[in-house]
């Protein structure tokens, strides 16, 4: 892999050597320039160092990092010219430099991809663009810090809320490990764990633009890194420092939470941490800082009121004996971003905005399994209750109070069920957002301008559906872009807008969810589809197909009329996959298409995948459950309506003027049944697209809500049976999937012929 690169490994090693002095110097200066202490020459020095870093990289023709270095120097210029506060500016510089160092190290060992670094740079640039007019740093009255509010885009992404939850979780882990370290002494794996959490925290905080949190996590990480390298134990002092770090971080995160929810933020005191840090003599960097401090102590600190150097709290601590601390880090800062004239005003503003309180939601991680169990139990409860209320012994009771209480119980049970099922529901927007990103890419790839319109993104659907629906939707969207939407010339030629339109819509419809993908392309070519179907021998000699019947052909395996295989679709993964996925979610997919005007794919999915309304039927001694959504009608045909050869494959009955094939369940499953005459049985009519089939069963028992249970992998191969359920009497009923049953049956008959 290395050979292919323009920059050989040798060059990289040389470069590494060449970079050592400038990097060392830069490290030192940045540590010195630590945020609080604004010194003009310092900024100049740093700029010079970044320049020489750029020059060195340039000498070795390294194509990376120049943009980042430019950005840094721009930032520093802004600081020097007092367009932004030195704190804000330098915190960005420090953040970026951390990422740059990491990326540089990676580059030196042969890496050529810096995705994370690039992202971080973009993020920082964006953040910085949000810092416009900046108020000068105000002298703080206390030792405490209040962090900045984040830019709106981050808040809206929900990133901040995620960050808070993650950070809190991480810090709990740290605490746990620290306790164990304190109790049991040296345990490298626990140190590692703490290190990892701090590292992540540093990264995320930097990424999101939270310099204070990032910095403390970084310092803590440094200490842990040294502990790890030297393989020495933390000691009580170290543990203590780490606990302080955790507490401080927690307070900072909590403060963030307060800011987000519009509460007045509690100031956080950082000096405890920094005091302890300076007292902790382990730190190499710390040693360097101490040295620097002595230098600083010799030179009097720059006193320039115009530059608003932040004084230390209280007179006694502002003096030389405390310089060390002062030099070490941020103690008391209020940073300004955007147009926020003064802090109190801003607070008032946030307090009145109640909307803000919705930005943070407390989260609780629960294993999905527990939710499933809960959903299962509630389902059982619903079933048990429905059996109770339908029991003749109860229905015959005349006492009105009993019925009133039962009604009440039913209502509670229902809302309990809705609540429990609601836990598993999420807005479909996550899927839609992913799709819209893909559409942008596809639109570029295919050279077609696409205008994607999304509605109903807030529609709640079951987690199982969210997890599985992306692939089929993606497929359909690809299909629309590739086969549906015409080229620009063609569109203009037919008087259409040059921009192709795709409408993505989700909505609730009774107990199901409708997802529609509609394009304004050329529509399906019924002729081509029919020709292909005849070619494939799928028409069975018929020629009078309705449009709907023709459309349904494209869902058959390996059916594609695309003339060319493109980058986007047509790679042989057909729409049959879409159909199968949708059906595995107990849904259906149908097509609407008008030639020249466009095509709609309509996905009809159940609200939840675990509880369904079922029709319980009996065949011999076996009881089956048919999902009510699949049942079109139930009839007992008259003897005169029966056609074809009874008991053979070719038997039909007359239903609403059509001949509908009869499928004998007892024959398919080899069950003993005394009912052999369809006119004495019950025929359950199911629809497959426009085609109807009659499933012959002995008897209809009742209708009830059932909880679907998987029968496990060992029964996966069972044909036409999608699961099992516990019936009201505690016995097991098998859930029929009539369409799978029919498809398998007919594909077998086809093969046999």
């Amino acid at each position: 892999m290395v050979e292919q690169l323009e920059i050989s490994q040798e060059t990289r090693q040389e470069l590494e050597q060449a970079l050592v002095p400038v990097r060392q110097e830069l490290n030192l200066k940045l540590v010195m320039a630590d945020l609080r202490e604004y010194r003009l020459p310092g900024c100049g020095e740093i700029m010079n160092l970044f320049d020489s870093l750029a020059t060195t990289l340039d000498q070795y023709s390294v194509p990376y990092f120049q943009e980042a270095i430019n950005f840094v120097n721009n930032l520093l210029t802004e600081v020097v010219t007092e367009h932004i506060s030195h704190y804000t500016g330098l915190s960005y510089v420090l953040n970026l430099y951390e990422f740059l160092e990491e990326a540089l190290d990676d580059f030196l060992v042969g890496e050529n991809e810096f995705e994370f670094f690039d992202q971080a740079l973009v993020r920082l640039e964006k953040l910085f663009a949000g810092v416009e007019e900046v108020r000068k740093v105000e002298p703080a009255k206390t030792e405490d810090v209040i962090q900045d509010e984040l830019p709106a885009d981050i808040l809206e992404d929900g990133l901040a809320s995620d960050f808070i939850n993650e950070a809190m979780e991480g810090l709990e882990v740290v605490e746990e490990n620290l306790l164990s370290l304190e109790e049991n002494g040296e345990q490298p794996e626990r140190v590692d764990q703490v290190f990892r959490v701090m590292h992540t925290l540093k990264g995320t905080a930097g990424f999101l633009g939270m310099p204070i949190i990032g910095k403390i996590a970084h310092r803590t990480e440094d200490i842990l890194g040294q502990v790890r390298e030297r393989k020495q134990s933390l000691g009580s002092e170290g543990t203590d420092l780490l606990f302080t770090s955790v507490d401080t971080l927690k307070n900072l995160v909590n403060q963030f939470k307060e800011i987000l929810s519009g509460q007045p933020p509690t100031p956080v005191n950082l000096s405890r941490f920094y005091d302890k840090l300076s007292g902790f003599g382990l730190d190499e960097q710390g040693e360097a800082i101490l040295e620097e401090n002595s230098c600083v102590a010799e030179a009097p600190p720059v006193e320039n009121s115009a530059q608003q150097v932040i004084p230390m709290p209280g007179e006694q601590s502002a003096e030389a004996q405390d310089l060390q601390k002062k030099q070490l880090d941020v103690n008391d800062v209020i940073i300004a971003t955007k147009v926020q004239p003064s802090v109190p005003e801003k607070r008032q503003e946030t307090a009145t905005k109640n909307v803000k309180s919705s930005k943070f939601t407390e989260m609780l991680k629960v294993p999905a399994e527990k939710l499933d169990e809960l959903a299962g139990l509630v389902g059982e409860m619903v079933v048990a209750l429905s059996l109770l209320t339908q029991n003749p012994a109860i229905t015959e009771v005349q006492n009105r109070t009993v019925h009133k209480h039962l009604d009440h119980l039913e209502k509670i049970t229902e809302s309990l069920r809705d609540k429990v099922l609601g836990i598993r529901m999420f807005p479909i927007s996550t899927v839609f957002n992913k799709l819209s990103r893909q559409v942008r890419d596809l639109s570029k790839k295919s050279n077609k301008k696409i205008n994607l319109n999304i509605s109903g993104a807030e529609t709640l659907v079951d987690k199982t559906i969210i997890d599985n629906i992306y692939a089929p939707l993606m497929h359909l969207v690809r299909n629309s872009i590739d086969h549906g939407i015409e080229d620009a010339e063609e569109r203009v030629g037919t008087g259409k807008d040059i921009e192709g339109r795709i409408q993505l819509d989700a909505q609730h419809l009774g107990d199901s969810i409708l997802i529609t993908i509609k394009d304004d392309g050329k529509g399906l070519n019924t002729q081509a589809i029919l020709a292909k179907a005849i070619d494939r021998g799928l028409t069975g000699g018929r020629d009078n197909f309705t449009d709907k019947e023709i459309f349904s052909f494209i869902f058959l395996p390996g059916f594609s009329t695309a003339k060319k295989v493109t980058d986007i679709s047509g790679r042989g993964v057909g729409l049959d996959v879409v159909r199968r996925t949708v059906e595995s979610l107990r849904g259906k997919v149908t097509i609407d298409s008008i030639a020249g005007q466009g095509t709609s794919f309509i996905l009809n999915l159940p609200l939840t995948t675990s509880i369904i309304e079922g029709l319980v039927v009996r065949v011999g001694t076996t009881r089956f459950v048919l999902p009510i959504l699949d049942v079109y009608q139930t009839v007992t045909p008259l003897a005169g309506e029966l056609k074809g050869v009874q008991g053979k494959g070719s038997e039909f009955f007359l239903f609403a003027g059509n001949l509908v094939p009869i499928v004998r369940i007892h024959k398919i499953y080899d069950l003993d049944s005394h009912v052999v005459d369809p006119s004495e049985a019950v025929v359950v009519v199911v629809k497959d697209g426009d085609k109807k089939y009659g499933l012959m069963v002995d008897e209809l028992l009742h209708r009830q809500q059932i909880v679907i249970q998987s029968m496990g992998t060992r029964f996966e191969a069972l044909e036409g049976i999608s699961g099992g359920t516990i019936l009201g009497d505690g016995r097991v009923g098998l859930i029929l999937d009539p369409l799978e049953l029919i498809h398998n049956l007919y594909s077998r008959i086809h093969k046999a012929e």
Binding site: E380, L671, R714, L718
Partner: protein, 160 residues
């Protein structure tokens, strides 16, 4: 010693749950036994081999039940009031097995255990971990993992 036998003495401490099928006493490692329930109504499942008796509702969970007699190719016995279902747990998968009579838990010594005995051609040796002697009793120790695993419970559809 086979892996199974080692497991028997190391993890199960030589403890077996034993039962009768016909006159013969069989044992399974105590670790593999989950619970014993009385014989209950079993709902048959179509398209399954003969030894698959069907499924039962084990406190809300649907589990398959097999008949060891027909699995081992023995003649069909008369279910009695003594018959019960031993629920076995193999890697989290529960399976009920019908036995004629539950004997109880015994502890066997390693010295009384024979790894791969010659039992004639009656039972597939794959299903057997070994044979244990206890006083005058001879217990065939079953390898339930092999009895139940690689077991496709569904028959491939025969064309009608």
């Amino acid at each position: 010693m086979s892996e199974k036998s080692t497991q028997l003495f190391k993890e199960s401490g030589g403890k077996l749950l034993t039962f009768l099928i016909g006159e013969q006493e069989y044992g399974i490692q105590i670790l593999e036994a989950r619970e014993v329930v009385g014989l209950m109504e079993i709902d048959p499942v179509p398209q399954t081999p003969k030894f698959m008796k069907g499924v039962i509702n084990l406190r809300g969970k649907i589990i398959p039940v097999i008949d060891l007699r027909s699995k081992f190719g023995m003649e069909q016995g008369q279910g009695s009031s003594e018959s019960c279902i031993v629920v076995v747990d193999i890697q989290g998968k529960l399976t009920g097995t019908i036995v004629d009579f539950l004997v109880g838990v015994v502890t066997i010594e390693e010295k009384d255990f024979e790894d791969s005995p010659d039992l004639g051609a009656n039972i597939n040796t794959m299903f057997i971990t070994g044979m244990a002697k206890l006083d005058k009793r001879v217990i065939i120790v079953l390898d339930m993992e092999n009895v139940l695993s690689n077991e496709e419970l569904v028959l491939v559809h025969a064309d009608h």
